[in-house]
Structures are given as structure tokens and as C-alpha cells.
Amino acid sequence: MIDRLMPRGLDVDGGPGFIQLLQSLHLEPTWPTADGDMSMIEAPESTTVLAARYKDGVVMIGDRQATEGYSVAHRRMQKVFPTDRFSVVAISGTAGLAVEMVRLFQTELEHYEKLEGSRLSLDGKATYLARMVRQQLPLAFQGLVVVPLFAGFDEIHQTGRLFTFDVVGGRYEENDFGATGSGSREARSYLRNRYSPDLEEAEALQLTMEALVAASEQDVATAGPDPRRAIFPTVVTVTAAGHDEFDDARIEPIASAALEAVR
């Protein structure tokens, strides 16, 4: 492998794309699709994630539970991932596929940034992610669905932006908030009644946390904050200063307040 990557190892694709590079080395991840119904495959599913714009940027928040059929597969799964300094992605759907997609996406952004000496625009990143979702379409037909949620700070327009996707790779920019996963309907209706575009950061954190708690009340697959086990949702904000991953000590008071507010 090394020889082919070095100068004069001429059979490697020349572009700045990481996935093309993996393809020319025959190392890209593939999930062979079987003929017929794959619905008997039980893979863990990850559930509700949501994001909202506020004055200085965007906040993204995700619960920690993965389910397999009617049982809990994982209680501490991470579904919200910073992808580079100014962007963050969250996933819902078949967890194994989604986590691999995020890893590839992270590497792709960093690879591009290093080779080209500049970051992709936020639009460019969203477009690329849409293409990755589209490539999963054959698997989606067989019941293995991945739907991400993407947000970031746009360095060109100096504002927070967020994008939702559908299973065929459709990309939709939302100018207020977005959610995906099994509890997303509930989360969105909670946000719809209370959202305003000029929220301060603390207000946005509180509101999105409440929406997640509301979703967990209605959707059995979504887990709200769990102070008893000390499991709290993942919270990441992105502003002009870059992304900020909250640790449990900062999330706990927000989560407690949200549990109180949504009863």
C-alpha cells in the first residue's frame, strides 16, 4: 500500500478526495447487499438528535440510547460528533452504518483541509454528506437506513446554519431548527411552539434539552437525561470560536432544569 501512495506510485487517484483515494486502493468500506429481504437483520438503531440556531451559532444535542427491536442495545452511545473545527454531525438510523459514515466524513474533511490548505465551505461539506447518504440508498431499500443531521458555523457568511437530510440524499437547509430520528416529531413540535431566532446560548441549550426530554416522554426509543445512572445527552455548540463539546458537569444543570420544566 505504501509504495502506491508515494510519489511515482502512479496508480492512485490524484484528487483531494479521501474516499476516491480509498477506492483506488480498494480499501473503501462496502456493505454487500443480499438479495431479498434483510429485515431479519437486527442491528442497533440510534434515535433522536436535534439542532437549533441561536444568536451566535448552532447547538446540537442527542440522546444516548440505541435500541434493538424493543430492547435497549446501548445506553451510552455517542450520536453527536464534531467533524472539524466549525461543523458537527449527528446521526440516526442503523448505528453501525452511521458511525462508519461519520468516521469517513470526518477523515474526508480533514484530508481535504490538509491537502488544499483551506477548509471546505459549509455548503460544500453539506453537499458532500448528502452524496454519502445517497450512496447508502441500496441498503436503505433493505431496511438499513442512515439519516444524519448536519450543522456548523459558516465562516463565509458568519452565521450558524443547519441542514437536514432524507434517505435518498436530499439536503434541506433549515433556518430555525431540525430533528431526526424516532422522537423527532415530538421534539419538533415542542420546539415549534417555543422557538425564536434571537435566542441567547443559554436559552437555546435549555430549549433543545427540554425538546429532547419531551421527545423521550412520548417516544419509547428515546432516552432523556438519566441522573440516576449519570448518563446525560451529548451537547455540542458551534460558534465563530469553533465547536465546543460540553462535559457532564456543564450538561447536568441544564438537564436537571429541563427535567423539571417538562412534566
Binding site: I2, F18, L21, K114
Partner: protein, 220 residues
């Protein structure tokens, strides 16, 4: 049919080395200095956009002197090698030594087998939790590892002896930058420096430790 003229291997290697060295000597040198928080790389570079120093991976930086297109191809190869390896296995598995070896092998092959040798010298700097590794790869594939300070380019030896005379363990960033700048100035006393390019591998930055120094930080 005419016989190819016999050239003794000593002569062949000598001619090629001389050719490569001449090309490298025309370019400006690059210095690296370890400091308490990581490692500093400094180059004299009049161009603000054509970089000689860049990021390879979380804890690995690259510097090249000589022909731009030739060392650029190694920079690209290095990023590809690191990203593929880190994706296939894990981020801690990407180490500077493996990369330096691959570069040395490739430059060695090019030196012997290609029509003309590459006129480049490459410096790979990697930091660990408590120190740094510096690997220097020459145009003919010669690989050497250096400690604390290193330099590449036509004036590398003089630079290193200047750096070494003032280097000590646990330097502050400011001190390391001052030492590196002084080394360049003492070699070029008769002219002004045409512009700096600098970067650090800084442990305090988290996963990706590479950071370019801003103009404000580099200003004299």
C-alpha cells in the same frame, strides 16, 4: 549497435549527488526546535501562500526544501499515507518513523532509478507526550534522526550548530522562536530576512496539534 559508455558506479552516484545538492543549496533553509509545549518549525519564506511547512497528521509536521513540485509530491503522499493508516487502524498508530522510512525508501529509489534525482530534503517532526522526534530525509534516501534541534537546506549544518549552541531542554515558545530567528540572522548578517513562515506542534491544542504562526507572532 553501439555499446553504452561504461560509467563506474562511484562516478554515477557522485554526479547525481552533486546535481541534487546544487539544486537544494539554491533554496532557503528550515529549522526545527523542540520546546516545552511541543516543537517549532521556522523557515525563511518570502511567499505567503506557497508553504514549505505543513500539517501531516495529529502530531506530525512536514517541512521541505528544494524544488517545490518535488517536495509537494511528498507532502501529499505523507498526508495520504497518514490518513489511510489512521482510518484503517487507529489514530495513535500513525507514527512519524514509519512515514520517514517510507520517504527514505522512495527517495532512495528515485535517486538511483530515475533520469534525474529529486532536489529535495525533507524534515519530519513528530511530538509525543514528553518530547519530539525529528527525522531528516536527504535527496538520496539517507535517513537520520535528530534530537532537540534540526535543520534542512543548503545552510543546514551551520544552522544546527548555531541552534545547538543555545538549545536546552524545556525552552519556552518565545525562547525557541528567538533562538531559531537568531540562527537565521547570524548566517545572513549581510542581508535582511525576506519573510518568515512558522508553525508549531502544540500539545495544548488537543487532537490536532499543528498550528501556523500568525504574522503578529512572527513579526520581528
Amino acid at each position: 549497435m553501439s555499446m553504452p559508455m561504461y560509467v563506474p558506479p562511484e562516478q554515477l552516484v557522485k554526479d547525481r549527488a552533486e546535481y541534487a545538492r546544487k539544486g537544494i543549496a539554491r533554496g532557503k533553509s528550515i529549522a526545527a526546535v523542540q520546546y516545552a509545549g511541543g516543537a517549532l518549525l521556522l523557515a525563511e519564506n518570502p511567499s505567503g501562500t506557497l508553504h514549505k511547512i505543513s500539517e501531516i497528521y495529529d502530531r506530525i509536521a512536514f517541512a521541505g526544501v528544494g524544488r517545490y513540485n518535488e517536495f509537494e509530491s511528498f507532502r501529499v503522499a505523507g498526508i495520504r499515507y497518514a490518513d489511510v493508516k489512521g482510518y484503517m487502524y487507529g489514530r495513535p498508530d500513525v507514527d512519524v518513523k514509519g512515514l520517514a522510512n517510507a520517504f527514505a525508501q522512495t527517495l532512495g529509489n528515485i535517486f538511483i532509478h530515475e533520469i534525474k534525482p529529486y532536489e529535495v530534503e525533507i524534515l519530519l517532526v513528530g511530538i509525543s507526550d514528553d518530547g519530539s522526534d525529528m527525522f531528516k530525509v536527504l535527496y538520496d534516501g539517507t535517513l537520520s534522526d535528530e534530537h532537540g534541534v534540526s535543520a534542512i537546506g543548503g545552510q543546514a549544518d551551520e544552522l544546527v550548530s548555531h541552534l545547538r549552541s543555545r538549545f536546552e531542554e524545556g525552552l519556552s515558545f518565545e525562547a525557541a522562536l528567538a533562538i531559531a530567528k537568531d540562527a537565521f540572522r547570524s548566517l545572513n548578517a549581510e542581508r535582511d530576512i525576506e519573510g518568515w513562515e512558522g508553525a508549531v506542534l502544540d500539545r495544548s491544542l488537543g487532537r490536532r496539534t499543528f498550528r501556523r504562526l500568525t504574522e503578529d507572532e512572527l513579526i520581528d
